[in-house]
C-alpha cells in the first residue's frame, strides 16, 4: 500500500492531542486568580491525580477516530490489489524535439537526435509515436504512427532552424494531439536544451489528465559564447554631399572568459568594408563604431560579422558564416544583418486652379521642410488632372480646384488604389454633383465671418493620427488661427469629423475609401480666408496630414525572425506610388536560402484586401538573412529588402529545471520524472483509491460513538 497524499500522515501527530488533554486539561479546567500563593506553596503537595488517565474507553475512541480520518486524508492506494494490477495499455507518445538555433551549439543537435531516437526505441509495437519539431512555432512532422523507424528517420532528417525556443506552442500542440488519442496512456517526451528564455508559465497550458512528461536534457557544449546585439545607425547629411551613415555594433560575451582581439567585420552588399578588433570582458558587452560610409542610391544589405572573413557571397545568402566555430560554437548569433536605405521622398502633387503660386506658397514651403519623411512636391495646374500626373503621386492636394467629371473619375481610382487626397476648399472649389456621394462631405456655400468675430478651430479629435502630436498640453494651439470664411460641409455618414469650427460646423473631414483616404479642409490653406498658415501649428499640422494621407511609416533597418514584414508599408517607404501598386498583380519573394516564392493576391501568405486592385501583403520571416520582395507586372516597382536576424534571447543558454516545465503543464512536478509511474485508466484508479472513503466513514462513526460515551460518562461523574 502506498499513499497519494503522504504528507497528510503528519496529521498522526494529532493523536497526541487527546492524550495531552487527558493529562493536562482535565485537571486544569480554569485558572483562578489568587492574591498570593505564599501559603499554598508552603503546603507539601504531590500532584498525582493529574497524571492519571481515567476514561480509557473515551481516549481509545478518540485516538481511533483520529487515526482513521488521517489515514483517509492521506488517500491510501492499493498497489498490489487485483484492481491496481489492471493492464496499463498502449502509450501514445509525442516527441517534442527542440530545433531552435541554440541546438546548433557544438554537437548539441546530434546528441538531441540520439536522445530522441532512444526515447522512441523504448516504445512497444502497440504504442504510437508522433514527432513535433518546435522552435518559436511547432510543426507536426509525423502524426501518431506505430512505425518507429519512420519517426527516427524524420528526426534524423531534421536540422536546427533560426528560430528561438518557445515551449508553449509545442506543448499546446502535443496536448491537442494527445486529446484526440484513444490509447489509455499518454506521454510527452521533450528533447531540448531547456533554455530559461523559452519558458513562460501559462495557467491555460494543461496536458490531458494522466499525461506523463519525460524530459531529455541536451547538455550544451562548453566554450565561449559571443553574440552580436542590434547595431545602431547614425545618419548624417552635409550640404552637397551624399548621405552618410555611422554603424555602431555591440558584442555581448555570455561566458566568464574574456574574449580578446576578435575581428569584427562590416560588410556591405557582400564586400568587406571595414574590420576592427574587439575585446570583451567576461559577462560584459562592448561596442565598436565603424567609420562612416556613404549611402548608395539603392538599398544596401549590410552585415556585421563577428570572427574571420566569410567567403564572398555567403553573407548575401544565408548570412551565416561557416568559419565561426573557431570563435564560438554558436554561429548564428555572430551575424547581424540590416539594411541601409536612402531616405526616399514621398511624392506629393499640389494642384491649383490657374497660375496661383501664392496660393501654394505656405503649403509648398511647409512640405519642403522635414526629413522623416521627405516630401517631394510638384505643382500642377488643374488641367493636369486629366493626364497621368495623378498616378505619379502618393499624395495629391487639390488646392481650391474645380474638379471635372473626368478628373473626378481618375481621383476615385487614385484613392481606392491607396493614394491620399487632400481637398482644400476655397471660393473656386467644386466637385461634380454625380460623384458627390463619394466625398467625405457635400460642399455647400461659403460662410462669411469677416464681420463680427472670426471663426476658430475647436473640437479637434486628438485621438486621430493627425492631431495626436498636439494632444498634450502646450503642444500647439489651433484656437489662435482666425477663419474669416469657410465652406459649409454636409458630412457623409461614413465620414469622420476631425475638427470643427467654434460654430459647430465641420472644419476637417476624413473618409477612408478603398485603400486610400480623402480629407477635406473647409477653408483655404493660404492667407485668403484664414491665417492658419501663419501659426506655429501649421508646419507640424501639414506634416501630420501628409504623413497620414500618404500612409508613410518608417521602416526598421532590421527585423527578427518570427516577425511579419508589412510589404505595402515597406514599398511606400521605398518610394512606391499608387500606379506601381495598382499595376502589380503580385510580388515575388526571394528568401535568404535562395528560394523563390510568388506572393499573389490569392497566394498563401498574402493578407488584407484581395480585391485585386491593390494587395496589402505581409510576409512572415522564417530565415536568417535578407529577404527581397519585387513587384511583378509590366512596370517595375520598388524593390523591398528586409533583413532578418535571430532572436537574441535564444543565445542566452541559461538553463531551467525541466521539473519546472513538467510542473507547469501537469500541476505536479513529480509527473515529470523520467521514471514515470504506471498510470491506470481513470476507473481503475478510482477503484484502487476508494479505500479512503471507507476509512473516513469509519472515523465519523467512531466520533459519534465517542460523543455518546462521553455524555454517559459525564452524567455518571455528576
Amino acid at each position: 500500500m502506498s499513499f497519494l497524499a503522504p504528507l497528510f500522515l503528519l496529521g498522526l501527530a494529532a493523536l497526541a492531542v487527546p492524550v495531552l488533554i487527558h493529562l493536562t486539561q482535565r485537571e486544569r479546567k480554569s485558572v483562578v486568580m489568587f492574591p498570593s500563593l505564599m501559603f499554598l506553596k508552603k503546603i507539601p503537595y504531590e500532584s498525582v491525580q493529574k497524571r492519571r488517565l481515567r476514561d480509557w474507553l473515551l481516549l481509545a475512541l478518540r485516538l481511533a477516530a483520529l487515526l482513521l480520518i488521517v489515514a483517509a486524508f492521506s488517500r491510501p492506494f492499493l498497489r498490489g490489489s487485483s484492481v491496481a494490477a489492471a493492464p496499463g495499455g498502449a502509450r501514445d507518445i509525442v516527441v517534442l524535439l527542440d530545433r531552435s538555433y541554440s541546438m546548433g551549439y557544438g554537437d548539441s543537435w546530434s546528441r538531441a537526435q540520439r536522445l530522441a531516437a532512444e526515447s522512441i526505441a523504448s516504445a512497444t509495437a502497440a504504442d504510437r509515436v508522433s514527432v513535433v519539431l518546435f522552435a518559436d512555432s511547432a510543426e507536426v512532422v509525423l502524426r501518431s504512427t506505430p512505425d518507429r523507424s519512420r519517426a527516427v528517420a524524420e528526426i534524423n532528417a531534421a536540422s536546427p532552424g533560426p528560430g528561438a525556443t518557445k515551449y508553449g506552442p509545442a506543448l499546446k500542440l502535443a496536448g491537442s494531439l494527445l486529446a484526440e488519442s484513444l490509447l489509455p496512456r499518454k506521454e510527452v517526451i521533450v528533447v531540448s536544451d531547456f533554455q530559461r528564455s523559452g519558458w513562460q508559465p501559462d495557467d491555460t497550458l494543461r496536458l490531458p489528465g494522466g499525461t506523463v512528461i519525460t524530459t531529455a536534457v541536451v547538455e550544451g557544449a562548453a566554450g565561449p559564447s559571443l553574440a552580436l546585439t542590434p547595431a545602431t545607425l547614425l545618419r548624417t547629411r552635409d550640404a552637397g554631399q551624399p548621405e552618410r551613415v555611422t554603424v555602431t555594433a555591440g558584442v555581448l560575451n555570455r561566458t566568464a572568459a574574456e574574449a580578446t582581439a576578435i575581428p569584427l567585420q562590416l560588410e556591405m552588399d557582400g564586400r568587406i568594408v571595414q574590420t576592427l578588433p574587439v575585446s570583451v570582458a567576461g559577462n560584459a558587452s562592448a561596442t565598436v563604431t565603424f567609420a562612416p560610409v556613404s549611402i548608395a542610391a539603392t538599398t544596401t544589405r549590410a552585415t556585421v560579422r563577428l570572427g574571420a572573413a566569410a567567403p564572398k557571397g555567403v553573407a548575401g545568402q544565408s548570412g551565416v558564416a561557416p568559419a565561426m566555430s573557431a570563435i564560438d560554437a554558436l554561429a548564428r548569433d555572430n551575424v547581424f544583418n540590416f539594411t541601409i536605405t536612402p531616405s526616399a521622398p514621398v511624392p506629393v502633387t499640389v494642384v491649383t486652379q490657374g497660375n496661383r503660386d501664392d496660393a501654394n506658397l505656405y503649403l509648398a514651403r511647409a512640405l519642403a521642410i522635414g526629413e522623416a519623411p521627405r516630401f517631394e512636391t510638384s505643382l500642377q495646374s488643374a488641367e493636369a488632372l486629366a493626364g497621368d500626373a495623378v498616378n505619379r503621386a502618393r499624395l495629391l492636394v487639390l488646392n481650391d480646384v474645380a474638379v471635372s467629371e473626368d478628373a473626378a473619375a481618375k481621383l476615385v481610382t487614385f484613392v481606392e488604389g491607396g493614394g491620399g487626397l487632400l481637398i482644400v476648399l476655397g471660393p473656386r472649389a467644386s466637385w461634380p454633383s454625380a460623384r458627390e456621394a463619394w466625398l467625405p462631405a457635400i460642399v455647400g456655400p461659403a460662410a462669411d465671418r469677416t464681420r463680427g468675430a472670426a471663426a476658430k478651430l475647436s473640437g479637434m479629435d486628438y485621438g486621430h493620427a493627425v492631431f495626436e502630436p498636439f494632444r498634450a498640453p502646450r503642444s500647439g494651439d489651433f484656437s489662435t488661427a482666425r477663419f474669416y470664411s469657410y465652406r459649409a460641409l454636409k458630412v457623409a455618414k461614413d465620414a469622420t469629423v476631425l475638427a470643427r469650427f467654434d460654430t459647430g460646423e465641420p472644419a476637417l473631414v476624413e473618409k477612408t475609401i478603398g485603400r486610400g483616404r480623402v480629407v477635406m479642409l473647409a477653408s483655404t490653406i493660404d492667407l485668403s480666408w484664414n491665417d492658419l498658415a501663419l501659426k506655429p501649428v501649421f508646419l507640424p499640422f501639414v506634416h501630420q496630414l501628409g504623413r497620414h494621407l500618404s500612409g508613410f511609416r518608417e521602416q526598421p533597418a532590421y527585423l527578427t525572425i518570427g516577425e511579419v514584414l508589412d510589404i505595402t508599408a515597406a514599398e511606400i517607404a521605398a518610394g512606391a506610388t499608387t500606379s506601381t501598386a495598382m499595376a502589380n498583380g503580385g510580388r515575388t519573394v526571394l528568401a535568404p536560402s535562395g528560394q523563390r516564392r510568388d506572393l499573389s493576391p490569392s497566394a498563401p501568405g498574402a493578407t488584407g484586401d484581395k480585391s485585386g486592385v491593390g494587395v496589402t501583403a505581409a510576409l512572415e520571416l522564417v530565415e536568417q538573412g535578407f529577404y527581397e520582395v519585387r513587384a511583378g507586372g509590366k512596370e517595375p516597382g520598388a524593390v523591398v529588402v528586409a533583413a532578418a536576424n535571430v532572436d537574441l534571447s535564444e543565445s542566452n543558454l541559461e538553463r531551467m529545471d525541466p521539473k519546472e516545465l513538467s510542473a507547469g503543464v501537469t500541476g505536479n512536478g513529480a509527473a515529470g520524472s523520467t521514471l514515470a509511474p504506471d498510470v491506470l485508466p481513470d476507473k481503475a484508479q478510482e477503484l484502487a483509491q476508494r479505500v479512503w472513503w471507507y476509512l473516513l466513514f469509519a472515523g465519523i462513526l467512531l466520533l459519534i460513538a465517542e460523543t455518546v460515551v462521553a455524555q454517559r460518562l459525564s452524567r455518571a461523574t455528576r
Binding site: E27, R28, K29, S30, V31, V32, M33, F34, P35, S36, L37, M38, F39, L40, K41, K42, I43, Y45, S47, Q49, K50
Partner: protein
C-alpha cells in the same frame, strides 16, 4: 473563619453598598457621622488641651506659659504644661499592590480605600493633620499631612489602582525615615509577608514614637478557602501558577492563614502596635466601631 459578631442596637452599612456610592467623602461622612452620633466619644487624643503638670521655670521658657497664680502663692516661677498638642499628624499607609485587587463582591482595595477615607475623615473632624501614602513595591503617591489636605487625600485614595506587585518592607523602611514628626500611622494592607519582616519594618515607625495601627484586610475566600473545583491558581503578583485540588489543601491552608494572623497579633501586642483583622464581608462601620472600642479600652489600660 468569620469575625463578624452583630452588635445589639447598631445598624451597619453593607460595604458593597458603600462601594457603589463612589464618592469617598460621602461614604466617609455616612459611616463616621453615624458612628460618632452613636458613641458620642472620640478615642483620639491628638486635639487635647488638658493641663498635665507644672515644672520649674528655666531660662528660655516662654513667659506667656508662666502660671502667675502659682507664683502669687509660692513666689516661684512655674511653667504650665499640657497633655498634648492641640492636634497631631494622621497618616494612612495604603497598600495598593496587585494582590489588593482581589475580591469577589468588593475588592480588598475598595474596602481599604473606604476604610482609609473614613479614618481620615474622622481624624480631620478632630482637627488632626491628615496625609496619605500609597505604596506597592515603592511609594506610589504621597500626600504630606496637613489640616487642609482632606480633599487631596480623598482624591488620592480615589485614584489609587492596584496594578503592580507589592513589597511591604522596602517602602515602609523608606517612609519610616520620612516621618519626622510623631503622629498616628495607620497601615492598611493584606500583609502577604512573613511576620518578622512586617514587624521589622513597622517597628521602625513605632520606634520613632509614632502610634501605629495595622489593618489587615482579607477577602473571605482568602480566609475560608471555599474553592471546590480543581484549578490552576495564579499568583496575582508574580504570575506563578500551580495546579490545586482545593479539597485536599483547604484545611492546611486555613491553618496556615490562622497561624499567620496569630503571629501578627502576637508580634503587634509585643511591640504595642494596634492590629486588627478586617474581613471585607464585614460592614465597614462595624469594623470601625470595633477598632475604636479597642483603642478606647487600650487607652484606658496604657
Amino acid at each position: 473563619m468569620s469575625v463578624y459578631q452583630p452588635i445589639p442596637g447598631a445598624r451597619f452599612v453593607d460595604p458593597t453598598v458603600l462601594a457603589r456610592i463612589g464618592n469617598l467623602e460621602m461614604v466617609a461622612k455616612t459611616v463616621v457621622d453615624g458612628l460618632i452620633n452613636g458613641t458620642h466619644r472620640s478615642p483620639f487624643f491628638g486635639a487635647s488641651v488638658d493641663f498635665a503638670t507644672h515644672r520649674g521655670y528655666v531660662a528660655g521658657d516662654d513667659i506667656r506659659r508662666m502660671d502667675w497664680r502659682v507664683y502669687a502663692r509660692t513666689d516661684k516661677y512655674y511653667i504650665k504644661e499640657f497633655e498634648a498638642d492641640s492636634n497631631s499628624n494622621f497618616n494612612v499607609l495604603l497598600d495598593v499592590s496587585k494582590s489588593m485587587s482581589f475580591g469577589e463582591k468588593i475588592s480588598k482595595l475598595d474596602y481599604a480605600k473606604t476604610l482609609a477615607a473614613c479614618l481620615t475623615y474622622l481624624a480631620n473632624q478632630q482637627r488632626d493633620r491628615v496625609g496619605v501614602v500609597t505604596f506597592d513595591e515603592g511609594v506610589v503617591d504621597h500626600v504630606p499631612p496637613s489640616a487642609k489636605h482632606m480633599d487631596v487625600v480623598l482624591h488620592t485614595l480615589d485614584r489609587a489602582r492596584a496594578e503592580k506587585p507589592g513589597h511591604l518592607v522596602a517602602p515602609i523602611r523608606r517612609l519610616a525615615e520620612h516621618f519626622g514628626r510623631r503622629g498616628i500611622i495607620v497601615v492598611i494592607s493584606d500583609f502577604y509577608a512573613e511576620p518578622e519582616e512586617i514587624f521589622d519594618a513597622v517597628g521602625l515607625l513605632r520606634f520613632r514614637g509614632n502610634d501605629v495601627v495595622l489593618f489587615h484586610v482579607l477577602d473571605p475566600q482568602e480566609v475560608d478557602f471555599a474553592f471546590v473545583e480543581p484549578s490552576s491558581f495564579e499568583d496575582l503578583e508574580s504570575g506563578d501558577q500551580i495546579p490545586i485540588v482545593p479539597a485536599a489543601l483547604a484545611d492546611q491552608y486555613r491553618s496556615l492563614v490562622a497561624a499567620h494572623i496569630e503571629a501578627l497579633t502576637a508580634r503587634a501586642s509585643q511591640q504595642q502596635i494596634d492590629y486588627m483583622l478586617l474581613n471585607t464581608s464585614q460592614p465597614l462601620d462595624y469594623a470601625l466601631f470595633r477598632f475604636l472600642s479597642m483603642r478606647e479600652r487600650m487607652a484606658r489600660t496604657r
